[in-house]
Amino acid sequence: MVTISNAHSELIHDAVLDYYGKRLATCSSDKTIKIFEVENDTHKLVETLYGHEGPVWQVDWAHPKFGVILASCSYDGKVLIWKEENGRWTQIAAHALHSASVNSVQWAPHEYGPFLLAASSDGKVSVVEFKENGTTAPVIIEAHAIGVNTASWASASLQDGTSALQERRFVTGGADNLVKVWKYSPEANTYLLQDTLEGHSDWVRDVAWSPSVLLRSYLASVSQDRTCIIWTQENNQGPWKKTLLKDDKFPDVLWRASWSLSGNILALSGGDNKVTLWKENLEGNWESAGEVEQ
């Protein structure tokens, strides 16, 4: 177990390992991003990235086929793209598409290509495509009027063998207590609202789309109302079925949800400073799979 203490001088808001599990990126209210090299039980700080002018909320690694690329988003309203080449980190791009804090940033599944999804408190979601010729094609959508707290891509579904690009979907969660599912429309060249999921009674803080699609698509949404809802959809179409992860409320607001790669374990975390693990049993009920203590 690797433990890194007090890497940042202020609160950490995100920590993500890269594709190969070798590099850890953390970001913090101290406006920096730190890159650690993690090897077995040891870790080494290799780089501190300065560039944001506000707390950095989230970071995400791109698929390695695009290079060693990290995206970060911050309270300063910007999304910065960082790249490592020959051990040197440089900021290769900045997107100031939003007029308020950008709360989440995520790269699309690599099958889609280099698409970056960002959610902002200005109520908008942006999808930036990084084209081969170096240009970008941002698509900006009004998603949740008060503010978008989170956005997450659907996994690349290849079930029907049609083009993955046509199937692009993502889910957003906002300050209007709603979860919305969006799908790409090639005709309109934008993302159209597919479903609006009502169920939370307070701000939705995180939504996570299960990375693997087996029987059905799974969505997990966590909210400040101290509940977690699992949404399921059969065969990528039809209505979404709502299941409360557990009937009683969590001891505190929930902040983050994360699926394991095959989607069998859900990790939740929140204001009580605990990480709980959940899995679906054979009967389709959700049960605890453990807890992580610091």
Binding site: M1, L11, P55, P64, A93, A100, Q159, S262
Partner: protein
Amino acid sequence: MSNYIGDNPYNSNTFGKSLSLRVDGGFKAVSISPSGRDAVLASRQGLYVVDLDDPFSAPRWLHHITSWEVADVQWSPHPSKPSWVVSTSNQKALVWNLSRSSSDAIEHVLHGHFRAISDINFHPQHPEILATCSIDAYVHSWDMRSPRRAYYSASVWSAGASQVKWNFQNPNVMASAHSNDIYIWDLRKGCIPLHVLKGHVNSVNSIDFNRVNETEIMSCSNDGTVKFWDYSIDSCEPQRTVVTDFPVARGRYLPFGKGFCVMPVTGGNNSIYLSSSVTDSDSESVSKFQPIYIFKGHSDCVSDFLWRVRHNNNSDVDDREFQLVTWSKDCDLRLWPVHDSTYEKVNYKRLQPLKTPLPDHEYRTYRQEPQVSRNLANKSSRVVEHFVTKSGSESFRDKNKVNHLAWVSGVRLHHANSQHNVFDQDKLQNLGEEVSMVGHKFPKIVFEKISVSTGTLILTLNGPWSEQSPEDLVFLRIQVSFPSSYPRKECVPHFKIEENRELSASKIEEINEQLSKISRRYVDLEKYCLEPCLRFLLGEKINLDTLLEEEELLNLDAVDHADLHDLSSLESSDIRSGAISEMSRTSDEEAGDFDNKSSNDAFVTRSANNLDLDTTPIPKGCGATWTPSGQLVCFFLTEGKAEKKQQSLLRLGRRSATGFKDNTKPELLYDDESHTVSKRPKRYVETLSASSAQNSEPANSANESDSEESSDSFGDDWNDIVRSDITLRTRMPVFSNFKKTLASIPSDGGKSNVSVPKSKNTVIIQDFSHLVADKKQLALEYTFNGESLEAVCKYNAQVAETHDFEDVAHCWRMIANVLIGREERNDNGFGWDPQALGDQWFIKETMKYFEKLKNVQMLAMLSCILMSPPQGNDDTQVPRNRGENIITFDNDFHGNSARSHQGSVSSSVKSEDYFSTHPPGGKFSKYRPSNAGLRSEVNMAPSLLPDIKIEIIRDEVLDLMDGQTPPLLDPLDEQKYKSYRYQYAELLFYWGLLINRAELLHFNNTGDFFANDLWHHPTGSDLNGSEQQKYTGVSYKLVANGGDSRLNRICNYCELKVDGRGFACGNCQHIIHATCAKKWWEISDDCPSGCGCRCVEMFDVV
């Protein structure tokens, strides 16, 4: 003062003053705009355009990154081309148009020389003409209306040229210096020089025509002499020789009066020497150099010097004024005033009537990105990312974006100090801006030297420090040195007041003491202190006690203290904010320049305007993310125990004050939202105001099923967040406009935030792979291939068993038994046994079970192994297939649903094949009763599993059975299984098991060649399968064409870009690294993408 930067040179606040400006970055050459507003500096990184009227602003950076030093840069002297600058880049000359956007500013590239260009000279009369000379010994003259080639060329052949200059009077004459000689050319006379001036005994560094007399030219040389020639009189002997005691790098006639300036190569005190010409023709032709004025101050050799000039437009008298601009290797750009006495000495009388009017230049700066192209440039700045490729224009833009960081670390005019500070935001970004702000605010203070990078200022002012009469002002010269991390705590600037006869030592001491007291106070609060210190020096009273009080308030709402206690006038602060907004506006216009400060300012205004609408949620302090390998990265907030205790004590105290267990609800603070379940503020901004109200006690929310302890810890965490936000806020200018919002909030005023403990945090990475169903260790050993299906299953069962995965092992065994059962039944001719359908049901249930467990690995493995074999009518089943293992083949899933009896025909033929290689009785019976005869186990290492004794069967029976046994997997689910296999392939890729992945992908190979993985095969979609199979020609087209190249240049084995040696299959067009191909083709002849192409066969590449 508010429009301190005017469009009139007479409003310039730098003209006529001395100024030193540090510009790091290895700049070699400098030039000045004819209007005198801008200076351009050239380096290997490109051009910097510095606005000399606003030297505090970041220069504009036009990128041109080369490995060659820039030998020369020249600003066009013509009013018709005010934005043209030409610079050298080795053998090319670049003509820049500064009125175009920085990313696209190169107007022409003059490429005619074949070695490095050493000098450029604009024609004094024709704006479109310029001359270049190079060490290739050529002199070219270019007309920029046809810039493709020079319209005039001449060469000396023997020696490279160091300088070229046009004659000021005769537009057809120019001169160039080659080694020790000077050649005078006439364009009309071709390449035969008009004159050759020989006389120097060492190489000539500089030549300059006299502005008035056509045939007079001066030259400077490494031999330490300056020679004045008049080739109309004598081209063999100079008219006059001045001997200096240093090698002379540059010598030029003065643009005013009669005189010249020289600049040493080395030595000479790093100064510029001004001398008047001795017009007395009787004097000796060789004389000692007698400077009349020395511009001394640089600490390293001077690279070049220029004259900044201003005069009134449309003036009919010569009212020009001059300022010397020097650029030195010590990285200081200096501006020197020229005194009237100097004008007199060189016999320059101002306000003389002019014969020809002076050219009028528009007084404007090109430092700012041009307005017109702003949008364009904005776009390009956003557009700068490129992931793998490096096409020319892209990398250019890429550099444009490095801009800011490089500027920060290299130039340090704008962003000084330590790395930390660079990204720190106070109201002021750094010392440079502080100085800039203060400089604009206090016009009476003269900054003699501003070196932000070294943190030193030298300033002069008049303050009421006279000991005799308090009314009198005393001139003070003060050197201020700032520590590198100023204004962090303990980094107090040091003020040094120069000795002054009007001040006694004790008085100086007293002032110093006061200054350090003030600065310490401010710096302890991490505030910039220059302004209060200067106010103090100017005689204002600085009340530090009120500062503290205000500071607290200010700390809460993070307003720059200056705004509140600025007693002097509202006006000045207005001006300041005006200046700042103007600055932000200007740098907004500087597209592509990611100026930290300005964009932040912009953000401030943006977010400040709608603070009420700031719906940023409260920050997460705890979270967990999964990694593909089943590790969980968690981050928590932690707290030291001592701290915790103190905290709870504190809270208890506060609680008792307000009534224990009383839900201390901060009134007005959480408006309507407070009725929601959690009392925790919802918005980020609220967390900030909550902290300021001092009684954020969100822990005791109503529900209260939690134990007291947990709510305690929770509260602590919360306090932690809150506290960290206080520190945050003190440094975040974002909240500078909070003042109004927060003014209404009553402050308990108890605790001061002076020492805010930093919040603590932990990141842990814990292995939870035991919870994840997919196991890498199994994937490593699992096999798809074996003598028979059940052998494969049994082998895999054993693999699972050795790794203690009993349930999985059990499942494998059950599957194996089902398979055996099938065959036995087949043996007995029970092909129509309903039991066969039962098998299908069993398999389906098994799959469902694993679907529920979300065990992608098992799903994919089973779907591969139980996959129905293809029809035997595949054209590509050339004999070589026989060498293949059991299930790697070209199959056709679309054929599955329409399984026909054709299969039996072909398979019976193939069974004979089988018999020819294998004696009956062996393992034959273990084959699937389908048309498996083709696939023998040749490649497989012998299984370690014990053989199962099975009766010999007759192949006829087998043939009969073929096509009648229902497939084990429901063909309707095939799409689903294909997706599972794909997902498992991704998983294998995560694990680095590339061979396994490629093997697996073969199962996903379908009739429609490319559909399964569009990302990898973007071009494949226009080729349909049948064409593919017939097409066997070698094609290199794909590799050669650059169109959609990135997509196609990804190795289908390791998914990384193919850079070096690679193999592109001409059939399926898939690319693979040479090294990957070596690895992969050891195992298989197929294409690693799983497209079904047999690349090796097609081309015999290995």
